[in-house]
Amino acid sequence: MQSINKRRLAWLSMIVAFGLIAAACGDDDDDAGADTGGDTGSEDEGGGEVSGDIQISGSSTVEPITAIVAEEFDGQNDTNTFVDGPGTGDGFELFCAGETDVSDASRPIEDDEVATCEENGIEYTELLVAYDGMAVMTNANNDQAPECLSFADLYAMIGPEAEGISTWADAQAVASELGSTTELPDVELALTGPGQESGTYDSFIEIALEGIAEERGQEPTTRTDYDANADDNIIISNIESADSSLGWVGFAFAEEAGDAVTEMPISEEPGGECVAPSDETISDQTYPLSRPLFIYINNANAEESPALAAFVDFYLADLNTFVEEAGYVTLPDETVADTVSTWEAR
């Protein structure tokens, strides 16, 4: 009986081995023959095709744009472009350690990150590629919601001094101190929004809360007792499920959210001009909560690798098409030209 089992085993191994050999010799038309590591590529004289690996990391907000570019680029060239979105801060950590070629960012690089890059001898070019807005939203059933919210109101409901308040009206005191005339209703404040791992969180603080916080001698931060979540879809569904909810997400998400949520117009100053978020108002920067999106390019790697240089050229050549496809707000033509000349002057 043992010999029969051995024979079966032998047959099985032969078949498996045969299969593996056949597979290894089989077609690998989808395997682009990647080089491992290294950024050096080669230029093909044929149709301007380049080859090589490109490593990109950073903001999950900018990632959709870069991924679309990468997909197109890889389709036309013999390259492998890897795009990942762990977060703007993580992206800069890798970038300033020289590990990535491009860093996506939903905020400008910060001073300590600049210092790290300098320490490690990383020189980079900062390129503005698109705008994004942060939509402040409430449940569509919230008919007591005010027409417009100013930064003062947002600070009063979301900022550090809002710790512990549970209705919109509770924030009236601080809001009035800041000059707001908005009447905040006496309904439950079910607050939800991104957590601290998100660039959207950082940007919101920087644009809406920081100035006021500093004036009042407070930490530039949000209250800690709200429903923070890394997943924008969950933020949206939180807003949908509470009648008088309040929350903020990136504009692209808000647009996809549908009719159960309402985007609220925002004014920068109390009683100032109230602007609702839209492609136009974000593009011409009249919407107060709009923020710029960047990509940072490692200059040295761009020198060495024709693939990387070609990638950035490709990115900028059709920039607005890519941005639109990703659902973000395009730059005006003059601004695009500025970005292109920044790149070419590197």
């Binding site: 299969g19 593996l20 056949a22 597979a23 290894a24 089989g26 077609d27 690998d28 038309d29 989808d30 395997d31 682009a32 990647a34 491992t36 590591g37 290294g38 690996d53 490593q55 990109i56 990391s57 999950s60 990632e63 959709p64 870069t66 991924a67 679309i68 990468a70 997909e71 890889d74 389709g75 390259t79 492998n80 472009t81 890897f82 795009v83 990942d84 979105g85 762990p86 890798l94 350690a97 020289g98 590990e99 990535t100 890394a230 997943d231 924008d232 879809n233 692209a252 998400f253 647009e255 996809e256 959210a257 496809e325 990703a326 659902g327």
Partner: protein, 328 residues
């Protein structure tokens, strides 16, 4: 749970029980209730599972209906109607291979040593305690371990630098290490259940310890070992957190797309950056448009479940085979 043996129940209770059994008249109400209670518990689990699967199928089957093979064959993409899961499936496949190749021999070997060879002293007790502890360490910590050690090791290995060191090989080894304690514990438990009488019979016939293990212990314990194997592969293929820490791609990569045999079995995927099903599912579930976060995600979940069920089916077949051979 009190440790009782047959002889310790009160005489009256035993007599009553025997009388009831012999007369066959009185329905065993308690027994039936007990049995139904057990069945109900089992059914609750299955019903919840059914709900889970039904909602996933409802959302995900249309993807296969509309796009069929293309969904399996495609790669990561920003366009929901072009996105596919081939890279995820291939990555998960190699992870399963890593588990089988690394965790099984090491795990089963360690369990055999601990149960059959090791003297019952404090060192052995310490090792066993250590292993049980490892089983409770969260997967994130294994991710950190993978990043700190296996990804670093890739520098020398494939000449890769920077982010390119976050390779499929590093990911696979990390997950194999993660499930190693589970393999050891379940195998040890299966070996412990082998009746001593069987071992002694073999020793009496003159076998060395290894021969006893090979001919008696392992075949008897095989069903339990396969159960552990099943659980560990399922666990390894399903873990998302360590993958993300080690650097599985959640954004975009054009490498290794396609479910043709040439690509699937191509080991040159190992020293490259990678993705795997849990990372794909996590990434898609967080995207804004409904097509991705509901439909494609559900489609990916179906793909992943089918994949795991296939692996499990093989293990189940093997387990049943060995269970039949067990005559005691």
């Amino acid at each position: 749970m009190a440790l009782t043996t047959i002889g310790s129940s009160s005489e009256a209770a035993v007599e009553a029980s025997v009388a009831a059994a012999l007369s066959g008249r009185r329905a065993d109400v308690r027994g039936r209730a007990f049995e139904l209670g057990l069945l109900a518990s089992l059914l609750v689990c299955l019903i919840l599972l059914g709900v889970l699967i039904a909602s996933v199928l409802a959302d995900g089957l249309p993807v296969y209906g509309d796009r069929g093979w293309e969904f399996l064959d495609g790669g990561l993409s920003r366009r929901p109607d072009e996105a596919g899961i081939s890279q995820g499936l291939i990555g998960s496949m190699w992870i399963a291979v890593a588990v089988v190749v690394i965790a099984f021999p090491m795990g089963i070997g360690a369990a055999v040593y601990l149960e059959e060879y090791a003297p019952r002293n404090r060192i052995t007790a310490f090792i066993e305690l250590n292993i049980r502890n490892l089983a409770g360490v969260p997967s994130v910590v294994y991710g950190l371990l993978g990043l700190a050690i296996f990804v670093e090791a890739m520098s020398g290995f494939a000449g890769a630098e920077g982010v390119a060191r976050r390779t499929l090989l590093a990911g696979g080894v990390t997950l194999a290490v993660l499930v190693l304690p589970i393999v050891i514990i379940t195998t040890a438990e299966a070996i412990r259940a082998v009746p001593q009488s069987l071992r002694e019979g073999a020793f009496g016939a003159g076998a060395t310890r290894w021969e006893v293990i090979r001919t008696v212990v392992l075949p008897y314990a095989a069903p339990g070992i396969f159960t552990g194997a099943l659980l560990s592969i399922a666990r390894a293929v399903g873990e998302a957190a360590p993958l993300i820490v080690v650097g599985a791609i959640t954004g975009f990569s054009s490498l290794g797309v396609g479910l043709n045999p040439g690509n699937v079995l191509d080991p040159s995927a190992l020293p490259e950056r990678f993705t795997a099903m849990p990372a794909v599912i996590t990434a898609w579930a967080k995207l804004p448009n409904d097509e991705f976060n509901r439909i494609n995600t559900a489609g990916a979940i179906i793909g992943m479940l089918v994949f795991v069920v296939l692996i499990n089916a093989i293990a189940i077949v093997l387990r049943n085979h060995f269970e039949k051979k067990r005559t005691v």
